[in-house]
């Protein structure tokens, strides 16, 4: 079976698109970057896409709130087409700014506020996949995932994290240190069906061994972020 097409949605100010393209490519997909405005003009592009992804950055400079304008491009511009893509069960991922976008579109629960310490922060973190999550992206990942965060507004906020977890929608939690004050150490959440994942950390920045801070001592490979994308691509092949 040929590699599924992975559409990478970008807006003005999206800046981790190249990183995400590499991750999707190494995971076995054919990444194609498209501007949200272009996709709105050609919603049929969604039909032959096996996977949808929204990269990190500062879309529209985060004017009117992180991710809001790009979210409007998707809800107003795409609307039903996006909804039916999600309903078809095909995998969708939004990272960092992409996560902020997905919460603004209401495809994902909760919202993201300023980091508890009030500053942009870039450092490596350890993520643990929730075993009971319905998320197709994190399914079967037992070893912790290592990858960097790089955000100023990554504090996940939700009124009832326990029921969210009970519903299997908490996909990833920060282990040991919670870098931004997210409720219940939540780093990533998925929709009820489990095919849409949003997370603040950047697994796309640990897709080859050398990217791990400890690679010179031969460490890290068991914790590679590439696994998430391999899961996503597998799900794309299963649903198309």
């Amino acid at each position: 079976m040929s590699a599924p097409t992975a559409l990478l949605i970008a807006g003005p100010g999206t800046n981790r698109d190249r990183d995400l393209e590499l991750a999707l490519e190494l995971a076995g997909a054919q990444p194609t970057t498209i501007l949200a405005t272009e996709l709105a003009e050609h919603p049929e592009r969604l039909d032959d896409a096996g996977l949808l992804s929204i990269a990190g950055g500062f879309s529209y400079g985060d004017a009117l709130g992180a991710g809001r304008m790009l979210a409007l491009d998707l809800t107003v511009g795409l609307g039903d087409a996006l909804r039916s893509f999600v309903d078809s069960g095909r995998p969708v991922i939004g990272i960092c700014n992409g996560f902020q976008v997905l919460t603004r579109t209401k495809l994902l629960p909760g919202s993201l506020g300023h980091n508890a310490h009030g500053r942009f922060e870039c450092r490596w973190v350890v993520l643990e996949a929730e075993p009971n999550s319905t998320c197709v992206w994190t399914a079967g990942i037992e070893d912790p995932i290592h990858c960097p965060i790089a955000h100023g507004e990554g504090r996940y906020v939700h009124p009832d994290p326990d029921s969210l977890a009970a519903a299997g929608q908490v996909a990833l939690r920060y282990r040991s240190t919670n870098p931004n004050g997210s409720v219940a150490d939540i780093a990533g959440v998925c929709n009820a069906a489990g095919n849409v994942l949003g997370l603040m950390p950047h697994p796309e920045n640990f897709v080859v061994g050398r990217q791990h801070p400890n690679h010179l001592r031969g460490g890290g490979l068991d914790h590679i972020g590439l696994r998430l994308f391999q899961n996503g691509v597998a799900a794309a092949m299963a649903t198309t």
Binding site: L22, G61, H202, R210
Partner: protein, 830 residues
């Protein structure tokens, strides 16, 4: 709703304990920046940019009959920052063509001939006090690069950045810029646009920007308010704004801010220094061929406003308490998202233009003026998109509004470029064409406001003749130091602002984006120890490059020539220590100095350039680009001159053949030998031990060059490539003791030192002698390592699993105590 203008304001309320006078003082000194903000108790009325149309015409300035004094008066009135000889040359030129200049022409000449753009001092004929006539400083630097004739240099000292070619058809564009004056006046905006500007420099030579560097110099953040001159900002506010400005631009445009340094000295209190660097990459790069007659002049990106007027001339003046009022508008306003879109449009569009440059200092007048050199251009100012109406022709022509690029485009290619711009929402304006008549013509509303021969514009400036009084550094007998408690001195050094962890700042920068940062600025088991150099390598490439920085103004105060040699050694040492090839190193030189019209100040500059050329030749490391920022002085209301210490920042960029064979200071294995390379002497002048304990009357010498260093670095590189080196760290500020401590912190392991490299313990532990490195070697490999090094190696001791650094004759120091001292200031940067 139609928005005509917007203004922002802040309301500050004081408790009862604060009377009008105190409130005013608090606002003036802490709340507001008098340079760009106004305040009033009670209500305050907003001010908006002047609405309505500009006159659209140029004003004629009669100068034909003026005396030198009257000329000087006009120069001062318009802040032209021109020398008397230059004003006379302009007067003579217009006499020869039989008319008077327009304001647009005068301002254009002032920009093009400014210190900032023309580098008058570096191009001046210098006569030293010993009667020697020197070639211009820029010529000396260029000649050293030509003499080295390194095959990997593709372009040096021309265009926006240097270009090197370390492997196959991949080139790197290298540039470091200074943005000192703007950062002093408005720290956030100054640093912010400093980063934006240097990224455009790389974009302006057809390379994709991939990494940003920053070297920052501040006054002491704990300086008492009373020590800060009227009109200057407190170092705390400057630091806060500058770091925010660097982080904001780099993080938003999506480039990793990977390498740099932060220095503190009272000499920077009124004149902070901001050195922003950018590295770009390209495949199959060729230099611009055009512009050709008939090409269109295309402006891409941001609109033009009144921001950043006269920035080039402003930065060429020394500042005083009133600089704010005259120069407030000299600080530009940055928008990283617009520049990100420019990258999206221009990277991959190389086939669409025949020449490209960025709009930096001098705005369109410099960008178009430089491109038109020898070709000529005809510009229609009415075609320039404006942020708001009301700009006079000279303001449009000189505005330094950010995020603008100028490209020369064949009419046939214009359509495709328009499509690319439309796709990414980037504004494109066709403002005229290149002519071929060698004349620069600018029109507004159909009428001509400027006509200059590009020959006079670029070559009409009389060469400066300058006198220099050379420094006489006391290079005599070595002078040692006495220290009561070496353990306490070590902990004090680790906690000194210049040496202590910069983690608080580094984590504010995204240094992970693009996934190519193979060796990070922070390394080790807890990722909290300083790396010597950082390594950038595309995730799917084996090879990459390393970046190292050398800077030491405290040496400069004592011996500028030795300082220059020493910081070049340090920059190269840093890249070699991480695994780069010493035979493929390119250097960038950035000088930030005081007023060169002071003969001793110019002498220090000449001495530093001598040191630069000597070191470049010794290491066969060519300079490919550089920048000088002079006049970093401030006249306080006390009438006293405050100048920065002689500050030379050297950036070394070197080829890394195998990014998987890099090494860091993280100790690997208990039982391994800790080896010192290089020789140690009592060289304490400008040392950090003196910064901690105070300087004695008899300071002795700044560390002298080590002629064996170049071969040592080549052999060390062979040893690293052969896998004989498990960890490596260079010795710099604080000497051997600090280097040992940092290796212990990196691994959270101990080192037991049994041999010291010098009979005098203080010299052994704290001297800052050059060209030394610590290397971890397995016991069984020692013999082979010695063979590869071809020099005597001193085994100082061994790595232990214990949690102590133990030094001969001293109680062991717990590694956690070292780490605590090193991290004492981490919470300091907010």
């Amino acid at each position: 709703v139609e928005i005509e203008g917007a203004a922002t304001w802040r309301r500050v309320e004081f408790g009862d304990g604060v009377d009008e006078q105190l409130a005013d003082l608090l606002v003036r000194r802490i709340v507001a920046n008098p340079v760009i903000e106004r305040w009033a108790s009670g209500t305050i009325e907003p001010t908006f940019h002047a609405a309505g149309a500009g006159s659209g015409t140029a004003e004629t300035i009669p100068i034909a009959d003026l005396s030198p004094d009257e000329l000087a008066h006009i120069g001062a009135e318009r802040a032209l920052a021109l020398d008397p000889e230059e004003l006379l040359a302009i007067q003579a030129h217009y006499a020869s063509i039989g008319r008077e200049p327009t304001d647009v022409e005068l301002e254009t000449l002032a920009q093009t001939w400014s210190e900032h753009c023309a580098h008058k001092t570096f191009r001046a004929l210098v006569t030293t006090d010993d009667g020697e006539d020197r070639p211009p400083l820029i010529t000396m630097l260029r000649q050293s690069t030509e003499a080295i004739a390194a095959p990997f240099v593709r372009s040096a000292f021309v265009g926006n950045a240097g270009v090197v070619n370390f492997r196959d058809d991949v080139t790197l564009a290298l540039k470091v810029e200074t943005h000192n004056h703007p950062s002093a006046v408005e720290p956030f905006g100054g640093a912010n646009t400093g980063v934006g500007g240097v990224i455009r420099d790389v974009l302006g030579i057809g390379h994709r920007p991939i990494a940003v560097t920053d070297v920052l110099c501040f006054g002491p953040p704990d300086a008492p308010l009373s020590s800060v001159p009227e009109g200057a900002l407190h170092p705390l506010r400057i630091r806060e704004g500058v770091i925010d400005g660097v982080a904001d631009y780099g993080n938003k445009i999506g480039l990793p801010t990977v390498a740099g340094a932060i220095l503190y000295d009272p000499g920077y209190t009124t004149n902070p220094l901001v050195f922003a660097g950018c590295i770009g990459t390209a495949k199959g790069w060729e230099p611009d061929r055009g512009p050709f007659p008939g090409d269109r002049i295309i402006v891409l990106g941001g609109r033009t406003g009144r921001d950043g007027i006269r920035g080039a001339t402003f930065s060429s003046l020394t500042m005083d308490a009133t600089t704010g009022e005259v120069a407030g508008a000299s600080v530009q306003i940055g928008d990283p998202i617009v520049e990100k879109l420019l990258i999206d449009v221009l990277v991959g569009a190389e086939h669409l233009y025949t020449a490209i440059t960025d709009c930096g200092a001098g705005g369109l007048s410099s960008a178009v003026g430089e491109m038109a050199e020898g070709v000529g251009a005809d510009v229609e100012l009415d075609k320039v998109p404006l942020k708001y109406p009301g700009l006079e022709p000279w303001e449009i022509w000189l505005s330094e509004a950010q995020e603008r690029m100028v490209v020369a485009v064949k009419p046939a290619k214009l359509g495709e470029l328009r499509e690319r711009c439309a796709r990414h929402g980037v504004e494109l304006a066709d403002i005229g064409g290149f002519t071929g008549d060698g004349i620069l013509t600018v029109r507004s509303g159909g009428t001509q406001v400027l006509e200059l021969s590009t020959e006079f514009l670029h070559d009409g400036r009389p060469q400066r003749q300058m006198k220099a009084t050379m420094p006489q550094p006391a290079r005599g007998a070595d002078v040692g130091r006495d220290v009561e408690d070496p353990r306490a001195s070590l902990l004090a050094l680790l906690a000194h602002r210049n040496i202590a962890s910069k983690a608080g700042t580094i984590h504010r920068y995204d240094h992970e984006i693009l996934g190519a940062t193979a060796v990070r600025p922070l390394v080790g088991r807890m990722a909290d120890a300083p790396a010597d150099g950082v390594v950038i390598a595309e995730p799917t490439d084996a090879a990459g490059f390393a970046i190292g920085v050398g800077v030491n103004p405290w040496w400069g105060l004592h011996d500028p020539e030795a300082m220059a040699y020493g910081v070049i050694d340090e920059a190269i040492r840093n890249v070699v220590a991480v695994g780069a090839d010493p035979d493929h190193v390119a250097l960038l030189d950035n000088f930030s100095w005081g007023d060169p019209r002071r003969e001793t100040t110019l002498g220090e500059l000449v001495a530093a350039v001598d040191g630069c050329c000597a070191a470049a030749m010794a290491y066969r490391a060519p300079f490919v680009s550089g920048k000088d920022s002079l006049n970093n002085e401030y006249t306080g209301t006390d009438g006293e001159r405050h100048s920065v210490p002689p500050t030379l920042v050297i950036t070394a960029v070197a080829h890394v053949p195998d990014a998987d064979r890099c090494v860091t200071p993280e100790l690997a294995q208990a039982g391994n030998a800790v080896v010192l390379l290089g020789s140690t002497a009592p060289e304490f002048a400008g040392s950090h031990l003196d910064l901690v304990h105070g300087e004695p009357d008899e300071v002795g010498n700044v560390p002298a060059p080590d002629p064996d260093a170049p071969t040592r670095y080549r052999h060390l590189h062979q040893a690293i490539q052969a896998g004989l080196v498990h960890s490596c760290h260079d010795l710099s500020e604080g000497g051997l003791a600090v280097a040992l401590a940092e290796m212990c912190i990196a691994a959270r392991r101990g080192i037991e030192v049994t041999e010291l490299p010098h009979a005098d313990r203080v010299t052994a532990l704290f001297s800052e002698s050059q060209s030394r490195l610590l290397v971890e070697v397995a016991p069984d490999d020692l013999a082979r390592f010695g063979d590869v090094m071809h020099e005597s190696i001193h085994v100082l001791g061994e790595v232990t699993d214990g949690q102590y650094l133990s030094l001969p004759g001293l109680d062991p120091i717990a590694v956690e105590d070292l780490a605590d001292a090193f991290h004492r200031l981490d919470g300091d940067v907010r």
